[in-house]
């Protein structure tokens, strides 16, 4: 028993077994290197070995964390002795832990680190684009930076809000003590971390030239760095679908007595609609990447036109996943927005049913629009009016979210705290993002804007301006609850204003630059765009610097200042704020019962949940 304590299972054993597993797989893969397989001779690259190495490496990593203990013990008929690590110690943050609150904080730090790396890539890209000609990186490194930035962000941010905030808060919000599948919950996090490291290994194999979309036949032509992209996105897809499954199962089965669907906090609805998308879209991604893997290793020809396949097939399948994916990024942000606005307007959520309809409507419609990414590709040209219509229809449910937000502000008593500022900025950014999206949905207008910096700026307005601003709103709002310490309000405001202004002065001009004829992902651009691009680069550097302000504030407030936040610093009436900060291990002593109103502002009822929530016993 003592020996087991010493050697793990924790992050250290996981890393050791992961590295060992990688090299064992690498060695195994090279046993295939027979002269009979001629493409090894032709290309000098052994994708089979690399895929096996990634697989064994990830399996080793998970075994090292202790994911195999429970099933193996059960298989051997022994009583399971899984240390759930639910009770105490900082060590539980560095290993397999099934406490949903620990997983939430693991997600916050882990995803934060990868967002930081993705952001650094963006800085390096903007450094190159300071001048029209190539001056910083060689063409291959530039494309790798573009691909790493896009893939890292699109992959990691799928769980950017659901990961930290839904894992931490959703069980509390529905009056549960845990998620439906706690071990799967931990697995989603560690899969994502393994995926992030796998993606970084692309640097050792020459990078990949395809951007985050990974179009065929370029993905077949690319060197071994491409395999990292495939393994990364497949792992992310697996993590996403498991996360979605877990969330849906939790909300369906674990709601407290009296908490019917119409009484759920709106954030829970945001999580549910996102989870439906994750569960249904991510498997498409996994399958299409397996097909790419087979094209690259077993020499199948799914996407090889010369061998009877079709690059269109890849484009179609990728965007069947890819468009729901961008709403996976947007919907949780809407949930956070509508959760925060009532608190700082001191008003009930306006148009609750409308907002729920909006979220579900977005989720449904997002499956019907994918070919708007292919308007000029020549595929199904006669169907373009349909996709134009379905795409523009999405603005109706999105409008529901907006009108619910506007209605909540109406006649409120608005307090401009940092989370509220980020929420209002969300409204502005997403408005710009949504309106620029209309140009991309309209085919004649899309002819010029497709594949240009305009479309790039558009989705940065919706993803960075939407998701990342909501992410920060969530951090400033809930981190006091999660840690028990206040974040410094003044530095939060400094961070907000610098970020908001520099964000708009980065991506606003990029909308114009796109319209003026600058294609995406090109290392050179026309000379007449230099002034605007230099302006954008400088703004982007300021935007990057604002993240450092946040980081300094975060570390200062939580490590050095440590001002206790109290249980309810925002005077919110939602249930999570009626519990101590941080929330104790088993959440509630007694499972609470819920009244009919999730946002009882302006009524005499006070806190709807309070009578039912016994103060939780401090756990030793």
């Amino acid at each position: 028993m003592k020996l087991r304590r010493l050697i793990g299972f924790n992050l250290l054993t996981a890393v050791i077994l992961g590295v060992v597993g990688f090299y064992v797989g690498w060695w195994l893969g090279h046993l295939f290197d027979a002269a009979s397989i001629d493409y090894f001779e032709d290309t000098g690259q052994n994708d089979i070995a690399l895929f096996i190495a990634y697989f064994t490496g990830v399996v080793g990593f998970l075994v090292g964390l202790g994911f195999a203990n429970y099933p193996v013990q059960r298989m051997l008929g022994k009583p399971s002795s899984l240390r759930e690590k639910e009770t105490r110690g900082a060590g539980r943050y560095f290993g397999l832990c099934t406490d949903h609150k620990v997983v939430g904080i693991q997600y916050l730090i882990g995803i934060g680190a990868f967002i930081f790396i993705g952001g650094l890539n963006a800085m390096l890209i903007r450094f190159e684009l300071l001048t029209p000609t190539q001056h910083g990186w060689n063409a291959n490194n530039y494309l790798t930076l573009v691909g790493l930035h896009g893939t890292m962000m699109m992959g990691m941010m799928t769980s950017g809000i659901i990961g930290p905030f839904a894992n931490y808060l959703l069980p509390v919000m529905i009056g549960a003590r845990r998620m439906a599948f706690p071990r799967i919950e931990a697995l989603t996090f560690w899969l994502l971390m393994a995926a992030g490291v796998v993606l970084m290994t692309t640097i050792a194999f020459g990078g990949f030239p395809t951007g985050w979309t990974g179009y065929a036949p370029l993905n077949d032509q690319a060197n071994m760095g491409m395999d990292a992209y495939i393994a990364f996105f497949a792992l992310v897809g697996l993590s996403m679908s498991l996360l979605g499954l877990n969330m849906i199962a939790t909300v369906i089965t674990m709601r407290a007595p009296g908490l019917s669907w119409g009484r759920l906090p709106i954030f829970v609805w945001g999580v549910v609609s996102t989870s439906v998308l994750m569960l249904l879209a991510a498997p498409v991604l996994i399958s299409v990447l397996l097909m790419v893997m087979l094209d690259r290793t077993a020499q199948t020809g799914f996407f090889n036109q010369a061998a009877g396949g079709s690059p269109y097939l890849y484009e179609n399948l990728f965007w069947v996943f890819g468009h729901p994916e961008v709403y996976v990024l947007a919907l949780p942000g809407m949930g956070i927005l509508l959760e925060i606005l009532p608190v700082f307007s001191r008003k009930p959520l306006w148009g609750y049913k409308l907002a729920v309809t909006g979220m579900l409507g977005i989720a449904l419609l997002s499956f019907l629009v994918w070919q708007h990414h292919l308007f000029v590709s020549g595929i199904n040209a006669d169907l373009r009016p349909f996709y134009m219509l379905s795409t523009e229809l999405i603005s109706l449910p999105t409008g529901f979210i907006f009108v619910a937000a506007l209605g909540t502000l109406w006649a409120g008593r608005i307090r401009l705290t940092v989370p509220m500022l980020f929420s209002l900025a969300w409204l502005f950014n997403f408005l710009v993002g949504g309106l620029s999206g209309v140009f991309l949905s309209d085919v004649p207008s899309d002819v010029t804007t497709h594949g240009s910096f305009f479309s790039m700026a558009h989705f940065h307005y919706t993803i960075m301006g939407g998701l990342l601003f909501a992410f920060f709103a969530g951090i400033y709002f809930w981190v006091p609850k999660m840690t028990g310490f206040q974040l410094n309000e003044r530095w939060g405001k400094v961070h907000f204003w610098i970020m908001f202004v520099s964000f708009n002065s980065t991506f606003g001009p990029l909308l114009v630059i796109g319209f003026l004829g600058m294609p995406r992902r090109a290392v050179t651009y026309a000379g007449y765009l230099q002034g605007a691009n230099t302006w954008v680069s400088v703004s982007a550097f300021v935007l990057g610097a604002s993240m450092l302000i946040f980081l300094a504030n975060f570390v200062y407030s939580l490590v050095f200042a440590r001002v206790p936040a109290g249980s309810n610093p925002w005077a919110s009436k939602s249930i999570e704020w009626q519990l101590p900060s941080p929330i104790p291990v088993h959440n509630f002593d007694r499972i609470p019962t819920f009244g009919d109103d999730p946002y009882p502002y302006g009524t005499d009822a006070g806190v709807a949940h309070r009578p039912a929530v016994a103060p939780a016993r401090p756990t030793a």
């Binding site: 001191r346 959520l349 590709s377 409204l427 408005l431 209309v438 002819v447 090109a522 302006g602």
Partner: protein
């Protein structure tokens, strides 16, 4: 102040704001929208962009005015005791008004966009191998072949001559046939308002009629590998007589290599294995 008069003020500010911004959008910004008036496709896109901007303007003005007004007027005073706002949970009429206006705008945009798409023969966008909307009368077919990492051009009505530069006669309906030999490229002739993906094995057709003479920028708009950023070119729209003499000179210059070229076809298969069958 009553809530009704707050509403009246927001309404009035929206109307005033729209009355100021809308003419600017329609008469100043709209006509100057890219890609310009070089071609029928470009003109249709400018018109489209103007209409989109005009439809968006009232909604944008309303939302911005509303947020600005709410944050200013409904703001709690800093030293004020924390009080709740009125428990308003919805308002049937405003929800219906919002639903009806946004639905009307969306349906209008979708119908307008589709009509404009067909009226302008695809508005310069790649419309696949069998476009429904085609210009009547004489067209000049020009094939654009994308390969890593350059575009070349073939003129099937001039013996299938293949050139490294793109020359087009003015006031002639051009029928671009865009295809690729390897990865997916995208042929983007910016000033012409033309963009069509170049897919291997696919004949992607786009129509455009240039009405002005001058040089235009051609760029690849789909990531196609390491030198994607260098896949650009300059094309020219010239007078018909100039085009005739240029194409004649090209045919002479390339007559020696013409017989080594594959016969003109809508798609090509550079893969030797596939070509052998």
């Amino acid at each position: 102040m009553s809530l009704r008069s707050h509403g009246g003020r927001i309404g009035a500010l929206t109307v005033i704001g729209t009355a100021i911004v809308l003419p600017l959008v329609i008469f100043v910004l709209g006509p100057n929208m890219p890609p310009g008036d070089w071609t029928n496709a470009g003109k249709s896109q400018v018109f489209d962009n103007t209409v989109l901007l005009a439809v968006m303007t009232p909604f944008t003005v309303f939302i911005l005015v509303y947020i600005g007004y709410a944050v200013t007027m409904f703001r709690a005073k800093p030293d004020e005791e924390l009080r709740d706002g009125p428990p308003i949970r919805g308002h049937f009429v405003s929800q219906v008004v919002w639903l009806v206006t946004t639905t009307a705008a969306v349906l209008f945009l979708a119908i307008f966009g589709s009509a404009e798409l067909f009226a302008s023969n695809g508005s310069g966008g790649g419309s696949g191998p069998n476009p429904i909307a085609t210009p009547g009368g004489n067209v000049l077919p020009v094939q654009v072949i994308g390969q890593q990492w350059e575009f070349t051009y073939r003129y099937p009505t001039y013996g299938g001559v293949e050139t490294a530069e793109l020359m087009l006669p003015v006031n002639t309906e051009i029928e671009f046939h865009v295809t690729s030999l390897d990865a997916i490229h995208s042929f983007w002739a910016y000033q012409l308002g033309v963009k069509a993906d170049a897919n291997p094995g696919v004949d992607n057709i786009a129509f455009v009629k240039p009405t002005k003479v001058g040089a235009f920028q051609v760029r690849c708009a789909e990531l196609c590998g390491i030198w994607h950023g260098y896949m650009f070119d300059t094309g020219h729209v010239v007078q018909s007589s100039q085009f005739a003499s240029w194409i004649k000179q090209q045919r002479q210059a390339f007559s020696a290599v013409q017989r080594y070229l594959p016969k003109y076809a809508t798609t090509y298969s550079p893969d030797p294995v596939a070509r052998a069958g």
